[in-house]
């Protein structure tokens, strides 16, 4: 607040005083007072006025400076009316009361919206959990029926190989149990499901997996704002996570004749679930935009201050001019338009999650050759230090 502004603001008051002074001078003159007396009188008047104006100015300036200082300092500025310095002036009090009422309604509205949003988010999360039950049901059902063709004995070997491969402990038991008993429950199941063929169940499985992926995207989008509430940082083997993701999508990958090569020796400190989600999105992109003889290569490299994960495919690639925008929300690019089924959410979510997890994400691509996505896991000095200390301790 500057003095000139202050005086301009008090223009009417000054004018009033000026007119009063003129009238008083005229009155003194008409009633026969001497000129010196009149001048003395007016001088005193002006002196008093000046002092009064100065004091008011200083007071007002102090008040507003204080108010501005508070405004700059607090982070929720809409609470200003609660924090304004006390003032004896009526206007200040009236204004403050009005501010107070206006803010109150504003805050109520914000609370309401926040609450609605939270309810919505919670509903989405619980919905995702509910929808996972039927998805699991369909997945199990397809898996159990896949390979059953009642007129054909061959597909049963699939199931046999499944059970033996996934849990080596029943190889013994299997050989000792007569074949007829082994397939009893399965034949029962096969009879019930005669109309659908193995290929149908495979297709249903694949579609079911797409649903699962879209559902996951919703869940991770809802949670991406509050990653900190939902992660568990621990030493994670990238090899395990990569294999888990490939395993999860093996039907899709095999059907699309994708080969994969995994070479991830390094471990990092991160949340396994979120990394799996990110890799899953990348993998789905690679399958979607695959080229001839699709090959996926996931490898890691230890850098000076972190671990670099390279996710490489030999797909159709991304145009140079679009490369910088692939992580933008809703960006589909020419590939996405040609494909027609892009949402532009996958990589956006990856980027967002990576930012929250403190992982660097970047891309390199050449049209027709392939795409490389880099995930950079930083290793904090703290962890290095404690590991070293740990080693020292164990050695001694």
């Amino acid at each position: 607040m500057r003095l000139t502004d202050f005086l301009r603001d008090r223009g009417m008051l000054l004018l009033l005083h000026l007119v009063s002074m003129c009238l008083a001078a005229a009155f003194f003159r008409l009633t026969g007072y001497s000129g010196t007396n009149t001048i003395l009188f007016l001088t005193v008047w002006m002196l008093l006025l000046t002092v009064w104006l100065l004091i008011t100015f200083l007071q007002r300036r102090r008040f507003f400076r204080e108010a501005r200082r508070i405004l700059d300092k607090v982070d929720q500025r809409y609470l200003l009316s609660e924090l304004l310095p006390d003032s004896v002036r009526l206007e200040d009090r009236l204004y403050r009361e009005m501010l107070h009422r206006s803010n109150k309604s504003c805050i109520e509205r914000i609370r309401q919206i926040e609450e609605d949003q939270r309810d919505y988010k919670e509903y989405i999360e619980s919905w995702v959990h509910e929808i996972k039950a039927p998805i699991t049901g369909i997945a199990l059902l397809c898996n159990n029926r896949r390979g059953f063709a009642p007129s054909d004995t061959i597909p049963q070997t699939l199931e046999a190989s499944k059970s033996t491969s996934s849990g080596s402990m029943y190889t013994e038991a299997e050989s000792s149990i007569p074949l007829s008993r082994k397939w009893m429950s399965r034949e029962k199941a096969a009879d019930e499901t005669a109309p659908a063929s193995r290929a149908d169940y495979l297709t249903i499985s694949l579609e079911n997996q797409k649903i699962e992926n879209y559902v996951d995207m919703v869940l991770y989008y809802a949670r991406s704002e509050e990653v900190y509430r939902d992660y568990l940082i621990r030493e994670t083997s990238l090899e395990d996570v990569a294999c888990e993701v490939l395993d999860k999508n093996h039907l899709l990958l095999i059907r699309n004749r994708v080969r994969a090569d995994i070479n991830c020796r390094d471990t990092v400190y991160t949340d396994r679930k979120w990394i799996a989600f990110i890799l899953n999105q990348m993998l789905l992109n690679s399958v979607k935009y695959r080229g001839e003889n699709p090959l996926l290569r996931i490898s890691t490299r230890r850098e000076r201050d972190g671990v670099l994960l390279i996710f490489e495919d030999n797909g159709i690639g991304i145009r140079q001019e679009e490369l910088s925008r692939i992580f933008d929300k809703g960006f589909t690019g020419s590939n996405g338009r040609d494909n027609g089924r892009s949402t532009g959410m996958g990589l956006y979510l990856c980027k967002k999650l990576c930012d929250r997890l403190g992982i660097g994400l970047s891309a390199e691509s050449e049209c027709g050759v392939g795409t490389k996505l880099y995930l950079e896991f930083p290793i904090s000095n703290y962890i290095l230090l404690t590991n070293d200390q740990f080693n020292c301790l164990t050695k001694s």
Binding site: E130, L158, S161, S165, S166, E174, E212, D247, P294
Partner: protein
């Protein structure tokens, strides 16, 4: 091996039973959960699969009740994915925590792992398979015929392993590839053909011919 399934979704319950029975486990799966802890105690299973969200009762409570009397391994199967739930499950005495939707082979592998861990059972896995004069030694990773032998790569060995487990039956190519993927060998259809061709060459070098039969559109058989 007896597995007790506590799951309120009828479809999942039924399919889990089929899956586990196909894997040669015995199963019990009640459809009411009022006194389920009692049922578990009287059935005395080797393993319990436990859902967390059940009508009227929480899986965590059942876990606590069962654990009070019985040291049976418990695996939580649930669609809750927050780390807090996982932590809670493990703190209540669960042995593993698997989130829906799960991959059936992964589920079976983890059940086997828990059983192995809790019972201290080392499965006596067969490492020597034979058919006729020809035998496959998993431990040495090579194949024998009448005193001659040839070393195999990991991929070739896995292919033969599956074929030897099902002598006389045509194993579809798709199943072979799936089996290889489950063993972290991520190859495609063409690569499988290449591996089979190399295998035939190797078999030829020890004097075995026409051991692996091909039937177009079906698969391979030994």
């Amino acid at each position: 091996m007896h597995i007790f399934i506590i799951e309120d979704e009828p479809l999942i319950r039924q399919e889990l039973q089929i899956l586990l029975e196909n894997a040669l486990y015995q199963t019990t799966a009640p459809d009411s959960f009022a006194s389920v802890a009692q049922q578990v105690l009287s059935a005395a299973p080797d393993l319990v699969l436990l859902d967390i969200n059940l009508p009227g009762i929480s899986g965590f409570d059942i876990c606590t009740q069962v654990r009070r009397h019985l040291e049976v391994p418990i695996i939580f199967l649930t669609s809750r994915t927050s780390p807090m739930d996982e932590l809670n499950g493990l703190l209540k005495g669960g042995d593993d925590y698997i989130t829906k939707p799960y991959q059936p082979p992964v589920l079976l592998a983890r059940i086997a792992a828990v059983l192995k861990r809790t019972r201290g059972m080392e499965p006596k896995e067969t490492t020597l398979f034979s058919k006729g004069d020809i035998s496959l030694d998993i431990a040495k990773c090579c194949i024998f015929c009448k005193g001659e032998n040839v070393d195999l790569t990991k991929n070739e060995m896995k292919i033969l392993h599956l074929l030897f487990q099902h002598p006389g039956i045509f194993v579809p190519r798709m199943d072979l590839i799936e089996y290889l993927w489950e063993n972290r060998i991520f190859i495609d259809d063409n690569t499988l053909s290449v591996h089979i061709a190399k295998l035939r060459e190797k078999l030829k070098s020890i004097g075995v011919e026409n051991f692996i039969e091909t039937r177009r559109g079906v698969g391979y058989r030994i």
